[in-house]
Subunit: 410 residues, 2 copies
Amino acid sequence: MAIKIALLGLGTVGSGVLKIIKNNQKKIKQTSGEEIVIKKALVRNLKKHQNVAKEIELTTNYDDILHDAEIKIVVELMGGLHPAKEYISEALNAGKNVVTANKGLMATFGSELIALAAKNKCDLMYDASVAGGIPILRTLSTSYASDKISEIQGIINGTTNYILSQMGEKGLSYDEALKSAQELGFAEADPTNDVTGKDAAYKIVILSKFAFGTKISINDFTIEGINHLQKFDIEQAQTMGYVIKLIGIAKNIAGKLFVEVAPCLLPNNAIMSHIKNEINALQIKSQSLGTAIFTGPGAGSLATANSVMSDVIAETSNFVKKTNGQPFSNFSRTMKLTSSEEVKYPYYLSFETEETLLDLSELFSKLEIPVREIKHVDEKTIVVTEEISRRQLQDLAIQDKYLRASYKIL
Amino acid sequence: MAIKIALLGLGTVGSGVLKIIKNNQKKIKQTSGEEIVIKKALVRNLKKHQNVAKEIELTTNYDDILHDAEIKIVVELMGGLHPAKEYISEALNAGKNVVTANKGLMATFGSELIALAAKNKCDLMYDASVAGGIPILRTLSTSYASDKISEIQGIINGTTNYILSQMGEKGLSYDEALKSAQELGFAEADPTNDVTGKDAAYKIVILSKFAFGTKISINDFTIEGINHLQKFDIEQAQTMGYVIKLIGIAKNIAGKLFVEVAPCLLPNNAIMSHIKNEINALQIKSQSLGTAIFTGPGAGSLATANSVMSDVIAETSNFVKKTNGQPFSNFSRTMKLTSSEEVKYPYYLSFETEETLLDLSELFSKLEIPVREIKHVDEKTIVVTEEISRRQLQDLAIQDKYLRASYKIL
């Protein structure tokens, strides 16, 4: 008896799922315990998908899927908060297991949906919602099940990493690099969510739940994208032996949780500095494993579809064993968020004008900011500090109107 | 009701398991579904372990564990083939689930033990047997469950990677680097299994089963260690932009499986080239994920113990759900091994003497070996070929007695 599933959406990822099931049927049956068949797909435009109408029943009406008792797993690939949330809720209430790749949805309504899945004894898995090409959520929930994570750092947005790589290596401007990313399909026509850091922020919210057991919202932390990053600073960082990457970070600082998405300077010799273009990477520091790094494609039809299929296979295997209804991550703990006094990093500071050393020195001295390096370049001023708190940084920004950019050095 | 487990061996890894269970009880209970308690441990010398005798019943008699119905999971950390194999078999026959970190055992008697576990409806897991600090086996069996792997390349022996890093970066001789590794605890007093490549070979046997579903034996492929590697060749590789690493490889070549452990040249800009000292890394190429790299510590008490605990937690979770008895990897397929004509790589060749270009050219021409680069250094000759088959390489070795070393270029 094959397991019947339904896809909500037949776009890039949906087509990837189709292709994988078609190509790897035998292995899928071995690993999941059952044959997996896509019975129905919800689409907006029936005509557009006529090429698959022979294999899959296409419908524009979700009720056709919801009321089909044969369908055991609903795979949500529509994106957006609504009606994705309503469709998933209805599926769970109808006793169907759910797989979703929707990071915005899980970062926003995750707790509610997870509770609903538990209530209905259904599976709700979403490995594809974070770094589709890196099996990170499943790894966090199994291989770190008895480990204590102290920090997770991620290059978790392929679009921005591509743009930064092109700016840093080929000397492109931000606009040129963005255009190149769009031409290659690494950036959408409207890249706002990517370049402002919002996409990475959703992912770090989900990662924080798995790594620290703690539920946060994207309103709880600072999000800075790369849309204000200047080529000048990328070049200056390079001359000092650093690469600028957009990093999502979640870190346990003395029992409290620090979360941020922002451009950061990484030393050239760090492995994370070698993660280029659309590639994603996650670096996890933990008590037992020390430092582990996982890297893979940041996007792409098959990469994301593969994570979706890992979830579909896990849910199928649970269905065969009659063990659906376990949460994707069991780890749960409450952590307070850090205050701005408690977070300390060395910072790269970029000032708009060539400030006099005397003025700067006095201000730094007043704010007790220790300086490692200071230099004038092209009538601008670059300062590298020793470790300072975010509070000190905020005070500096208030008192020196020429401070244009400040990036953590990791 | 806590799950009671027993450890066979209380050495480095065993102490790590103790420490992890003590430090992370709350998380372990959340993630496994039950409290986990070490009830008994088999040791050789009771006196040596008196410090833990208050918490754990120590015994020198395996029957005390085997006949204890309360013990649901036996964790084998003794190493060696015998009596580890007999103890595990008896545990499975007594209906106990088993976790082992024993790569030699699983590479040699894996099939037999896996069949025995299935017969007794017990779990047999061994994530710690390959690259303890990288959760690779569980990842292969879940996140690659619907993907088609074409190649797996690993730096899977920390000792040799440490030695090669020290030789390459600090200019140490092989003997100096080995001594340094021993002083730091990265190499055992008798490093034979590591430096001859045997340890890596065991691991690639297990990886081949998970990545390709195919059972092979260490007698099925070429194993070359680093014990004959000369500093001269490391330096020559460097001047040409390469790093030499000991690589275990398993690759699907036109439907047949190529497996080898040998020193290889990797280009400087490859991420794998930046994996230094005792760190391990695995690079997996697959249809859906393209190239993914996983890196983490190659050894260490807590890193290996963490993988052991992932297995213990998975088995506990199965016990709670009454689903023990599934194989660790369901993937099974028969692949023929490649013949020496079918495997082609570019090669780095090192000749003992300064051969005349004319002699070499004639021989290469006769054997149809295309040359990319040829140079004389210190009265020796270095040749970089284009892609040649292993058969061509073997012919060359027979016909030119001065060929001292040949390394694949990846």
